[in-house]
């Protein structure tokens, strides 16, 4: 597959790049004249390429009445252009052995394909086509909006945990569009039209609002040439101005109760915290990441060890904080109480653990354990080509430079016990807290039906 000469050349090239700059030197980036950013990460471990097109348009860019349109458009992107009829995109990628899909978040919408390395051309050709030529037929829309409603029923309506989280986000944010669910409110989906989808497409789907990330066994110059060939002719659009839509500073605790069919209660606590904005200068987001690790980075981390294992107040506990985002940062702790324990006791215990860190900081061993996870994760994540491309896209759409990622590791390493307790003191105060609790509802008892043999007979007709 690889001739010895080719191996040597590639190796020689690699070594040269390495001498120039470490770690992320194997990424190269170019911006086309129409504003499309093209970033390439070379990884030759397998004869495979990942291609991702990121649009800087997610649910946070939606407005009241049309929540969910970013995600609906994502579905419609598979529904055909003049050149590539509905369903053909997926068929052609599948015929080439590829896997493909897309995802929408608060911050972005991204489309991806994984293929053998010599088939990148196909992915770029198809992505360029649907960046500008989407048909958006009313008939296709009418069917697909039903699929999206089914998706919402599956993921949210019928999931007590998802409904609690949806409620939490809606209450924890007052002014930021982060209060809307990515999939949209059901009422907005019921009233969405193909014109809403078209307006969204025409507003945001443009080369100057997108980034192509390619990772794998590829030559960057060839990727740039292919990108120019397929995307180069697409004219940029004038993008609407983006307002900051900053979240207002909370002025008192907020509480929400969600009733849904379940057995276990669930408690979620959320505090607004900073996100990463200047990776070279910020320190608080790094301290918050380490705090998350100290609380819940491994099986013997504080919350699991203290509240689940030692005191047996909770059956499960978990912590979430994502430093990289376009919108306001949120630090979330959730937990299910053990049998016979009240939510009030659990809430007090969770807060007490954070207060203890605010007061006393963290032990040396605890701190270095949290950092060991971060360092190891930096190695492990290189096992996934997809994830590496994903990080580049996420950082970029959040307005950060992914080439600063090595710095992040050094910054996390440098976090001190004092810094961890400083952020715990500053941000984890009751007047900034939102509490969401799941009030479990029993299922109604209804008799069931059972037929032996009938199904087969009916099926045979």
């Amino acid at each position: 597959m690889n001739t010895p000469l080719k191996r040597f050349l590639v190796l020689a090239q690699t070594v040269l790049i390495c001498i120039a700059a470490p770690v992320w030197a194997e990424t190269q980036e170019k911006t086309l004249d129409n504003g499309l950013r093209v970033a390439v990460k070379v990884d030759r471990r397998a004869p495979v390429v990942v291609s991702q097109v990121w649009y800087r348009a997610g649910s946070m860019d939606e407005s009241y009445g049309s929540t969910g349109v970013a995600h609906v458009l994502e579905h419609m992107m598979f529904k055909g252009t003049a050149q590539v009829p509905s369903g053909e995109f997926s068929k052609r990628i599948a015929a080439a052995g590829g896997r493909e899909n897309a995802f929408t978040s608060r911050d972005h919408t991204a489309y991806f394909q994984t293929l053998q390395k010599d088939r990148l051309n196909l992915a770029l050709q198809l992505e360029a086509d649907r960046m500008r030529n989407l048909l958006l037929s009313p008939e296709e829309f009418a069917r697909e909006i039903e699929v999206v409603k089914e998706e919402r029923r599956l993921r949210t309506e019928d999931s007590a945990q998802a409904r609690l989280y949806e409620g939490l986000m809606a209450v924890a944010h007052a002014s930021s569009p982060y209060r809307h669910p990515v999939i949209g409110w059901m009422d907005d989906l019921q009233h969405m039209t193909v014109d809403d989808a078209r307006a969204w497409y025409e507003r945001w789907y443009a080369p100057n609002n997108a980034m192509l990330v390619v990772a794998g066994d590829v030559e960057p110059e060839q990727v740039f040439a292919l990108a120019q060939q397929h995307f180069g002719h697409i004219a940029p659009r004038r993008l609407p101005p983006r307002k900051p839509q900053n979240e207002v500073e909370p002025s008192g605790a907020r509480r929400i109760t969600v009733k849904a069919p379940a057995k276990l209660p669930l408690l979620a606590l959320a505090w607004p915290v900073p996100r990463l904005q200047m990776p070279t200068q910020d320190w608080e987001p790094y301290a918050l990441e380490i705090l998350a690790g100290v609380l819940d980075g491994h099986a013997s981390a504080r919350l699991n060890q203290t509240l689940v294992r030692d005191r047996r107040l909770a059956t499960e506990v978990s912590v979430g904080y994502d430093a990289v985002s376009r919108g306001p940062g949120l630090f979330v702790v959730d937990a299910s109480p053990a049998e016979g324990q009240s939510l009030a006791v659990l809430e007090a215990a969770l807060k007490a653990e954070i207060a203890r860190i605010a007061r006393e900081g963290v032990a040396v061993a605890e701190l270095s354990r949290a950092k060991a996870q971060v360092v190891a994760a930096q190695v492990y994540q290189q096992d996934s080509l997809f994830y590496q491309a994903m990080l580049m896209g996420e950082w970029s759409t959040a307005g950060l430079d992914y080439r600063d990622r090595p710095l992040r590791l050094a910054k996390l390493q440098a976090v001190s016990s004092e810094q961890v307790s400083a952020v715990a003191r500053k941000y984890f105060v009751d007047d900034r807290l939102t509490v969401a609790q799941l009030d479990p509802q029993p299922l109604a008892a209804t008799p069931e039906t059972f037929k032996r043999g009938f199904a087969g007979a009916r099926h045979a007709r």
Binding site: E26, K91, R143, V147, A262, D383
Partner: protein
């Protein structure tokens, strides 16, 4: 290990990992002095090591009245072992950035360890795993806590349609065959478990002669041999447990509707399918791509989602197991459209059983499976999972090498023959959680 030196490692590796090496996997295999089977791929691209250990200790080894014993034994093994307390086990792994998880299904129970390959990290992680395998404490105190947690989790799961449907589906297919026993157990069975049960289960099933090890990553063959000897030492001795008994044929299918207030019905249709060493594995696998395995390429997705907008997710798959694992079709649809979705699904299946795939569909399926094969093996984690399956099920060492050729060789006729033999419509079981809402009843979901 100090975090600082690890950072140096990260920087160094970024320059060294880009070796243009591919051309099939060089899979090595041997048997340790204790009788454990080892499957190994040496790869130095990344400074890390993945190890999995598996035993024939899955939930099919449980018995009625003790459902969940296999799963609880496996789970409890990590919670205190030898000289290390529960907390020390977790801390020793966390200190070196190692990640340990346990996994189990009807056939297998085991552990997956990912660690940095630097000697100090690797040694500490593997010594910890060795204690877990050789000297689990099964402390009564920890067991009481974990039983309570598992029971609470099950009681909560029992409110969810996907869990209720999955349980009913397994019971319909397997009745009193051990594949009908739930991996996560039953609340009352879990409540009755004692330390002695776990210890006895461990001694009978976690034997070196029954162990299979998969090793992938940055160590030499010599180091891998040492690692395998070390992990297999100290395990209970004795014969490997007997094979799981065959799944009997059931002549007649069934239909069960379980009421539930959710807005969607969850539908399960299927029957016992195929074994790991089944001669029909390839025709069924390739054929199923066309029926419901190929995502947007599949007939079920086309008919149920693309044409009618009835579901977000609809699929079919075979789970090859030691005895016959399930063939399953699944979908979720709003309750008002349950009957439509079920009828559409059955019509697709019926037509597929009659005529099989078209030539064009078969070509498309082969192109995807063969063309996508490199992506199945493009990371250490994915390779480890294949090695684990090859080792546990004693698949031939050239299984991966011949895989695409065997897919290419499948014909339409073989697919039709295999499907008709295995998927007899009269034997299909259907479970619906939720169920059609009668329009005239005025009943609304929730």
């Amino acid at each position: 290990m100090h975090a600082k030196s690890l950072l140096g490692y990260v920087i160094a590796l970024a320059c060294c990992c880009i070796w243009p090496a591919w051309g099939g996997l060089n899979i090595q295999h041997w048997i340790t002095s204790q009788g454990a089977r080892v499957v190994f791929v040496e790869n130095h691209d990344l400074p890390m090591l993945d190890v999995s250990v598996d035993f024939p200790a899955g939930s099919a080894r449980d018995r009625v009245g003790k459902a969940g014993l296999a799963g609880m034994t496996r789970h409890m093994m990590q919670l205190g072992a030898g000289v290390f307390s529960e907390k020390e086990v977790a801390e020793r792994l966390a200190d070196v950035g190692a990640q340990l998880s346990s996994r189990g299904d009807s056939d297998r129970a085991g552990f997956v360890l990912r660690t940095l390959s630097a000697e100090s990290a690797r040694t500490q992680a593997l010594l910890t795993l060795r204690e877990i395998l050789a000297a689990p404490r099964f402390s009564e105190d920890v067991l009481e806590r974990e039983k309570a947690r598992a029971i609470a989790g099950l009681q909560d799961a029992a409110t969810r349609p996907e869990y209720l449907g999955g349980r009913a589906f397994a019971l319909a297919l397997y009745a009193d065959h051990p594949y009908g026993l739930p991996e996560s157990g039953e609340p009352e069975d879990l409540a009755s478990l004692h330390r002695a049960d776990l210890l006895a289960f461990y001694r009978q099933h976690y034997r070196a002669t029954a162990m299979s090890l998969a090793v992938m990553g940055d160590i030499s063959r010599t180091q891998a041999e040492q690692l395998a000897e070390q992990l297999a030492s100290g395990l209970p001795t004795g014969e490997a447990p007997e094979a799981i008994r065959a799944v009997p044929d059931t002549a007649m299918g069934s239909e069960r509707v379980i009421p539930h207030p959710a807005s969607q019905s969850h539908v399960f249709i299927g029957l016992p399918g195929l074994t790991r060493d089944d001669p029909d594995y390839f025709p069924l696998y390739v054929g199923n791509y066309v029926l419901g395995g190929g995502g947007f390429d599949s007939r079920l997705m086309e008919a149920v989602r693309q044409k009618k907008g009835l579901a977000y997710s609809v699929y079919s798959y075979f789970s090859p197991m030691q005895a016959r694992g399930a063939f399953q079709i699944g979908l979720q649809t709003r309750r008002e459209s349950t009957d439509d979705a079920v009828a559409t699904t059955r019509a697709v299946l019926k037509q597929f059983l009659e005529a099989g795939p078209s030539e064009a569909e078969l070509t498309q399926a082969k192109n995807n499976i063969v063309g996508g094969f490199p992506m199945r093996l493009d990371s250490n984690k994915k390779i480890l999972e294949y090695l684990a399956v090859i080792g546990f099920y004693r698949l031939p060492p050239d299984w991966l090498d011949t895989y695409t050729a065997r897919v290419e060789a499948i014909s339409r006729t073989e697919i039709v023959r295999a499907f008709r033999a295995r998927v007899r419509p009269t034997a299909l079981h259907t479970v619906i959680v939720g169920g059609q809402l009668a329009a005239e009843s005025g009943q609304v979901p929730r």
